[in-house]
């Protein structure tokens, strides 16, 4: 459930971006053209006329698109552009008017230690959890693939924990990690390690790593399923051929299975990364960015600055920076991993 496993719908939504660089539904020849060629010339005249009538309803079809398009424009595109506009202002989020301040907000962001700390945390939490969760998920998928009997049961059992939202899990952990009465510290004291008990969420030297641990403390349910589906689509004759040639299990994995999984790795890593850039729930629940500003992430920074500190213009500028980071890293990561896929 972490954010990573499609973190639930939100993630899943973002996830599909992976395929941006791949072939989209409308790539290649325009739909209509192809259909005309194959269908119309072959038919008798009467059918031709009807087909034309069928096609003449183009405006009706545009009407089909309209409701979704209007909602999408009003809820996504227009506000995003407004955000760009606000990022050049000193708007406080409340008063009716504001002044344009040029690139002052961006200037301040790029020289702000607090912002760079948030970037660092986002990298640790986003990239770190992406790598760890993918590694665990791949291991679990490999095990599921070898489990033999009761595979369905085990698959369900592995998926179940990821139904719990990042928010709920973080909330439970917040109490588990309570200094006085939390189960973790009490357990440590009970087994005779009282020195290990500490204020897990109040100690600025470890707090980010504690959040990373909690973020990873789940199986990436969707990630595992995607790996499993890909594992099971590896042609068995390839595996057998390698075995006949004398390859051991490790070699089969390295030279047959792993290259076949390259596509799945690209998809899962990109999904996890996009989710990681916007990691928020865990920080909000566990530490509210504290102690001080130590554990802030970029998403939390935008929220805090925009609503908590009444600097909507500044927050918008930070949001635009986040947007650029997401675009650049997604495209770059995809390009890199696709290249690796081909070589493999």
């Amino acid at each position: 459930m972490t954010d990573q496993s499609a973190l639930q719908g939100q993630t899943a939504v973002v996830g599909a971006a992976v395929r941006l660089t791949g072939e989209g539904p409308l790539d290649g020849a325009p739909e209509g053209a192809a259909d005309d060629v194959s269908f119309v010339p072959a038919g008798p005249p009467i059918q031709q006329r009807r087909t034309r009538r069928f096609r003449s309803t183009r405006w009706v079809m545009l009407g089909f698109i309209a409701p979704a398009l209007v909602v999408y424009l009003l809820m996504v595109i227009v506000p995003s552009l407004q955000s760009l506009q606000l990022s050049f202002t000193n708007w406080d989020g409340i008063s009716p008017d504001y002044d344009y301040v040029g690139v002052a907000n961006y200037d301040e962001i790029l020289t702000s230690g607090r912002f760079w700390n948030a970037v660092k945390n986002t990298l640790i939490l986003g990239l770190g959890s992406a790598v760890i969760i993918n590694a665990i998920s791949l291991g679990v998928a490999l095990m599921l693939d070898h489990v033999g009997r009761w595979q369905g049961l085990f698959r369900t059992a592995v998926y179940l924990p990821s139904l719990v939202s990042a928010f709920i899990l973080a909330t439970i952990w917040k109490y588990l990690l309570n200094y006085n009465f939390g189960a973790v510290n009490v357990f440590l004291r009970d087994i005779g390690l009282p020195d290990w008990a500490r204020d897990w969420l109040g100690d600025s030297s470890i707090v980010v790593w504690v959040i990373l641990f909690i973020t990873c403390f789940t199986l990436g349910g969707n990630t595992t399923l995607i790996y499993l589906a890909n594992l099971q689509s590896v042609p068995q004759d390839l595996v057998e051929a390698a075995r006949i040639d004398g390859a051991n299990s490790r070699q089969v994995f390295r030279h047959v299975t792993w290259p076949m999984l390259a596509g799945a790795v690209t998809v899962n890593m990109t999904l996890a990364m996009i989710a990681g850039w916007t990691i928020f729930d865990q920080v909000m629940v566990l530490t509210s960015g504290g102690p001080g500003f130590v554990s802030e992430t970029m998403a939390f920074f935008i929220y805090k600055v925009g609503f908590g500190e009444y600097r909507a213009g500044f927050g918008s500028a930070a949001a635009i920076v986040l947007f650029l980071v997401v675009i650049v890293s997604t495209v770059a990561a995809n390009a890199y991993m696709r290249k690796r896929e081909i070589q493999a």
Binding site: V76, L163, I168, F217, G263
Partner: protein, 296 residues
């Protein structure tokens, strides 16, 4: 938890029909099973801990945090509904989840169908416009949306949350439906049209039923995501509303500092519907996850 687990152990879609010979389990397979079971237990332990403690009082929890419930009592569950806004929040979450899913199904498949069947430059542009939304994090549009909803008097209403969700989910829906629609032959629709059906009727009675597999996957993913969402309701619902369950729990964490048992209870209740959705649609779920995920 045990009853839920039993519910989920329904036959898998991939299970072979013919009774298969029972092969002996190898040592390796047993080891793998044990490792997986231990792993699942570890991962599930926080939730199990919350479940156990939802049956204990605050005194019991703080005196002996590692203890087990001594008596089975639903006092906490009753108290949660009587003394907090949880019930109202539950209704709000239900309204948001259901309305958003219904509205998405009403507008997104139709739009994808329009995009696919119109073809040409216009629809390619519209398609790319939709897909671009996948790369726009919610944080980017958050501040102007709050401003906009405030101006039209919709701030802190469920309507605002539903509309924001609709916009966010549209991109993914268009991507999903467009790629699926490619595989549906146009001839069937033309036959329907020759038989006198209008465009709208052709879509809802001919095309939409064929989209069922992708619709079920879409509905499940969205329903779970909506139910579990925290950020959007946190931003758009202020204290004039009871919020969604996650927002309500978050407020309780701040207000009821000595009511841990209620937090645990609320957390467990928030998970139950997700598990129910999963149990009900398990087959579609795993299939839907795998559809399109396999390369080539």
């Amino acid at each position: 938890m045990s009853t839920e687990t039993q519910l989920l152990v329904t036959p898998e879609p991939t299970r072979r029909r013919r009774p298969r010979r029972r092969k002996r389990l190898t040592v390796g397979q047993v080891v793998v099973m044990v490792v997986l079971a231990v792993l699942v237990l570890i991962i599930a332990s926080p939730v199990l801990y919350a479940l156990l403690n939802s049956f204990r009082s605050y005194g019991e929890i703080t005196v002996d945090p590692m203890g087990l419930p001594t008596t089975f009592t639903l006092d906490n569950y009753v108290q949660l509904f009587q003394e907090t806004d949880y019930g109202e929040a539950l209704v709000n979450t239900l309204i948001i989840t259901l309305s958003t899913v219904v509205l998405l199904i009403a507008i997104v498949p139709m739009a994808a169908y329009g995009i696919e069947r119109v073809g040409g430059r216009t629809s390619r542009f519209v398609y790319i416009l939709f897909i671009a939304g996948l790369m726009i994090p919610f944080q980017v549009r958050m501040i102007p949306l709050v401003k906009g909803f405030d101006e039209v008097g919709l701030y802190s209403t469920l309507t605002s949350v539903i509309l924001v969700h609709l916009g966010g989910a549209a991109s993914f829906g268009i991507l999903l439906y467009c790629s699926f629609l490619k595989g549906i032959p146009i001839e069937v629709e033309e036959a329907a049209s020759i038989d006198g059906a209008g465009r709208l009727r052709t879509f809802w009675s001919i095309v939409f039923p064929m989209l069922l597999p992708v619709t079920s996957a879409f509905v499940i993913i969205q329903a779970l995501g909506l139910w579990n969402d925290f950020f959007i309701p946190l931003v758009f619902l202020d204290s004039s509303s009871a919020g969604t369950i996650n927002v309500a729990i978050n407020r309780m964490v701040g207000l009821l500092t000595s009511q841990w048992q209620l937090i645990y209870t609320g957390a467990i209740l928030a998970i139950v519907p997700s598990v129910a959705i999963f149990a009900a649609f398990q087959r579609y779920f795993i299939k839907g996850m795998s559809v399109g995920a396999v390369k080539g």
